[in-house]
């Protein structure tokens, strides 16, 4: 999967599952400040990403994911 494809998948989770405004989802968007997601939203995002990409994300790793770009890079790293 290319970086662009992973971004599109993460974006679709944010829009479809968390009801985030599509136009706000960019690589630089910060989850809490820009997308106004709360802590439960982030857990939901992490769990949906685990299902969608077939990966495991620990709580410590999840705590480091602050922007959409962080999430995309994390998935890219895992998928190798």
């Amino acid at each position: 999967m290319t970086r662009e494809e992973v971004f599109e998948q993460v974006k679709s989770i944010l829009v479809e599952t968390l009801s985030v405004d599509e136009d706000k989802v960019t690589m630089d968007a910060r989850f809490q400040e820009d997308l106004e997601t709360d802590s439960l939203d982030l857990v939901e995002l992490v769990m949906t990403m685990e299902d969608k990409f077939g990966i495991k994300i620990t709580d410590e790793e999840a705590a480091e994911i602050k922007t959409v770009g962080d999430a995309v890079d994390f998935v890219m790293g895992r998928l190798g």
Partner: protein, 357 residues
């Protein structure tokens, strides 16, 4: 509007909330370990509610549940084994992530996976909300699910949300709560064109905190909502609107004040009428009215609160529920499936999203 039946008594509301639909069988997953009196009282409530049109998947430690069911097995109750328990004091998200084999999470998962169509628990409210968000997911377009409950107001209960899911909200969340509450009142209770009030500290549009003032503007501008305007705290009890919307912080405080007051008054009346001989004679004469008031103020009549905005009906019961409350909560969950609640919610939320600025 004449054709629409008016709801005249609390009993009509209770009947609407717990009605079954001919020919439609619903499966409800029930957390056997949820509540202060679990699992004994939960099993009693399940046996009261289960029938040919309402099958129960009873989720908890199989051995213990078999013991409790011994001699009164029901063909409409099936046990699903889950040994672990989420306690009422557990941190919600941690518990849901850390105890996937708990009765609460298993019951919610059975619902998300389709083995059941709705779920009831009288356990940890936060854990139920987290499990619902993480496993069942919200309806597309729903920003925040809300806890929607019936306040036993006089003469009729009022639909009230958010009773505690979201301590901090934005104005557009409150607007969405108004849409959800209105759909609930119409689809589940059968109220024609329900009116919506916004809880504040004065009736004028400019009264309230910043979020409430902005929310008032948004709701008033929404043609989908039959908006009455702001309502004050006393209107929770003296019914002037069908639906009242608040943030989860104020909403939860209001609910607890209401319940505490009702409980205190009922207990004081009970004390008073069991005092002197004269009081006893008076009480005997007034007995039917006293019973009616007692029933009107009893939260167990309505059994539980909806987690509104999720893709399946999840019902949270009172931790202190007795068998009647559990049974009514399970029936309420089933009604969430047989009514048009979820498809209408999805359609209305989508329509509202399309016209939002």
């Amino acid at each position: 509007m004449m054709a629409e039946a008016r709801l005249l008594t609390p009993h009509d509301i209770q009947a609407a909330l717990t009605a079954q639909k001919a020919g439609v069988t619903v499966r409800v997953a029930v957390d056997a370990l949820g509540g202060d009196h679990a699992p004994e009282i939960v099993v009693d409530g399940v046996l009261q509610a289960a029938n040919a049109l309402l099958k129960v998947l009873l989720v908890g430690p199989e051995g213990r549940l078999r013991e409790l069911l011994a001699g009164r097995e029901s063909p409409f109750v099936e046990i699903v084994d889950a040994a672990d328990r989420i306690a009422s004091g557990d941190e919600p998200v941690e518990a849901v992530r850390g105890k996937p084999g708990s009765s609460l999470v298993t019951a919610v998962r059975l619902t998300s996976e389709g083995a059941a169509e709705a779920c009831f628990s009288a356990g940890n409210t936060g854990a139920m909300l987290a499990a619902g968000m993480l496993h069942v997911h919200r309806i597309k377009g729903v920003m925040r699910p809300a806890i929607c409950t019936l306040l036993p107001a006089v003469p009729l209960p009022v639909v009230f949300l958010d009773a505690g899911a979201n301590a901090d909200v934005r104005p557009e969340h409150l607007r969405q709560f108004a849409v959800m509450g209105q759909v609930f009142a119409h689809e589940v209770l059968g109220i024609a064109d329900p009116t919506v009030g916004l809880l504040s500290i004065g009736e004028e549009p400019g009264k309230g905190n910043a979020v409430t003032i902005e929310a008032h503007k948004l709701i008033a501008a929404d043609p989908q909502i039959n908006f009455f305007g702001n309502v004050e705290g006393h209107q929770l009890v003296q019914r002037t609107v069908d639906v009242i919307v608040a943030d989860g912080f104020a909403g939860n405080i209001a609910l607890k004040v209401f319940e505490g007051t009702a409980k205190t008054i009922v207990s004081e009346i009970r004390k008073a009428v069991s005092g002197s001989g004269r009081a006893k004679v008076g009480a005997a004469i007034m007995a039917p009215d006293l019973r009616r008031i007692g029933a009107a103020l009893d939260p167990e009549e309505y059994g539980g609160a909806y987690l509104l905005g999720l893709r399946r009906p999840l019902i949270i019961g009172h931790g202190s529920s007795r068998a009647k409350g559990v049974a009514n909560g399970i029936r309420t969950a089933s009604r969430g499936v047989t009514s048009e609640l979820l498809p209408t919610l999805a359609a209305r939320i989508e329509a509202a999203g399309a016209q939002a600025p």
